[in-house]
Amino acid sequence: MIKTVVSVGLPVLETMHIKKNRLTPKSPKASEKRFCVITGIHGDELEGQYICYELIRRIEEKIELLSGTVDVYPCVNPLGMESITRRVPTFDLDMNRSFPGDLEGDMSEHAAAKIVDDIAGADFCLDLHASNIFLREIPQVRLLKEHQEKLMKYAKLLNTEFVWVHPSPTIQPASLYHSLNSIGVPTLAVEMGVGMRITKQFGDQIIEGIFALMKELGIWEGEVIQPKDPIISTAKDRVTLLHANASGIFLPSVEHWKGIKKGDEVGKIVNSLTGTIEQTITAPNDGMVFTLREYPVVYGGSLIARILEGEA
């Protein structure tokens, strides 16, 4: 059932709506659990679009196996998505910095508050992100150290190779993740892929994890896969960040999500006017490249790769 969570009138002949699809069992009981999947806080992140479509399609195909409520919020920043804008247009604010919001506040604050109100009381929430246009990420669960004890068992069900316990911007204070966890809705954030694109393979991988999670929550009665056993990184020093030292055009030499040996070439920053190499970037240790620069134009300081230390 499609429901409108919030509507805000725009100046000229248009109202912005944020909608959700509520999926319920055929013969509902009173005591069902509720699971929420939300995506699109950042208007340029589209990986969650495929996941929402596929999740709804697969649940409806076997609706008799659904034993709880699933709320899918596929696009909570519709103006951003349809103007290729990461933030909330006109306000130029990061929606993931406006939670828990303010019912009396402006469009962005009001929408944030309505979303939190709508999710409040749910038994679990998953916030799907898709990096940004600059970096490609392997599917990974992100959570804060303070929530590790409570959430790790669920994080491991999501079928990712990697769980990063790290205060990344996606989950910092004023994020949806942070606001929901602080009102008692267990919430995990997933990062995957790259902005403005859909990587079907990643989506399929996370979908399997979502069903495994729903089974654990008692919301899904169908068969589920055995989720991958993820590498969990909690210590900051296990992740190495490689930044550009030169400006130019980045050409990667490694494949994303592949092992790398100390001294291997990660990529080159080249000058396309002179035909010369400005910088050759090499791996400082063995490990796995879980973040790789996607957008080729770089300045000094631009993030090129993140390597998870370990065996190549």
Binding site: V8, P11, L13, R86, R87, D92, A174, S247, Y299, G300
Partner: protein
């Protein structure tokens, strides 16, 4: 006056972006003045340019007092100014949220770190800045309540208002906050305009800084003594919102005194032209902030009022 390069961002195809510093006088680090961090802060750039012009003159006449050095950094972000983008054009980060910065970090963190290295250690730090919500303000000096702020010093600018605000988590990346935490008395000077130039308020801002530098014994400059400021806490400002979206017709402006029940603005139907809502003053007071875009979206703040204050 000495010109120096504080930091350079190299670019593949654009000119390298040199962040320039202008030093006046010599000796102990007395005052540092920083201009725009965002690409739409044209009024702030203009104010800095006029200040550099005045300080050059003052230095030539020997009116910078002994053992005082003044550093002016007129812009941290000509890359964005030149392409009319508000934030760092590549990744949309806000340089004024990146302090104290990171020498090994992202491009804008490196900018912040290198600039902070140059501006720290001064007795007084002054930044010309715009608010993150676009709109017009009464000219004022703003300080964050860090425990190190000095309202009595802020009063010496002679601007009509001094506003103090509590530091929120997202303020911790501002230059003002980091200056204060590092022992500099930091002031942010707000001018009514941002993307357009207003000569009168630009002159007022330049005079306010020169007045402050005079009163702190850094320069000798004869100027009007300005206002004795009213001190306003940000939390005490009364927000007035619009209940509908449409074309916005402001009737009253920053600095205006208004009476309870007075019509402050109207919202007009964008197609049929009729007035569909009136914004009514909920209290007597003086308008501190006003929305200035031609369109308005329901529930957004259109005015902030200093309650029960009279001219």
């Amino acid at each position: 006056m000495f010109q120096e390069v504080i930091h350079t961002v190299k670019s593949p195809y654009r000119d390298d972006m040199h962040i320039l510093g202008y030093r006046f006088g010599r000796g102990s680090k007395a005052a540092c003045i920083v201009g725009p961090t965002r690409g739409n802060e044209i009024q702030q750039l203009y104010i800095c340019s006029q200040l550099i012009k005045e300080l050059s003159r003052i230095e030539k006449t020997g009116a910078i007092l002994n053992n005082n050095e003044i550093l002016v950094i007129p812009t941290l972000n000509q890359f964005s100014i030149n392409v009319e983008k508000r934030f760092w054009a590549m990744d949309k980060t806000d340089i004024n949220r990146m302090f104290p910065g990171d020498m090994e970090g992202e491009t804008t963190e490196q900018i912040a770190a290198n600039v902070f290295e140059a501006v720290k250690g001064f007795s007084y730090g002054i930044q010309f800045i715009s608010f993150h919500t676009p709109g017009e303000f009464i000219p004022h000096v703003r300080m964050m309540e860090t425990g190190f702020q000095s309202v009595s010093l802020a009063n010496l600018f002679g601007l009509p208002y001094v506003l103090t605000k509590k530091a929120h988590p997202f303020d911790k990346g501002t230059l003002n906050y980091n200056w204060q935490m590092n022992g500099t008395n930091a002031f942010s000077v707000y001018s009514p305009e941002t993307a357009t130039i207003d000569e009168k308020s630009a002159r007022q801002a330049v005079s306010a800084v020169l007045r402050f530098l005079t009163r702190m014994g850094i320069i000798k400059y004869n100027c009007h003594s300005g206002y004795i400021a009213s001190i306003v806490e940000e939390e005490s400002l009364m927000s007035i919102r619009t209940d509908v979206s449409g074309i916005y017709r402001p009737l009253r402006h920053p600095g205006d005194e208004v009476k309870f029940g007075e019509i402050l603005a109207e919202v007009v139907d964008p197609i049929e032209g009729e007035v569909i809502s009136q914004i009514i003053a909920p209290s007597d007071g003086i308008i501190f902030f006003a929305h200035s875009k031609p369109l308005v979206i329901q529930n957004c703040i259109v005015y902030k009022l200093i309650r029960r204050l009279h001219e």
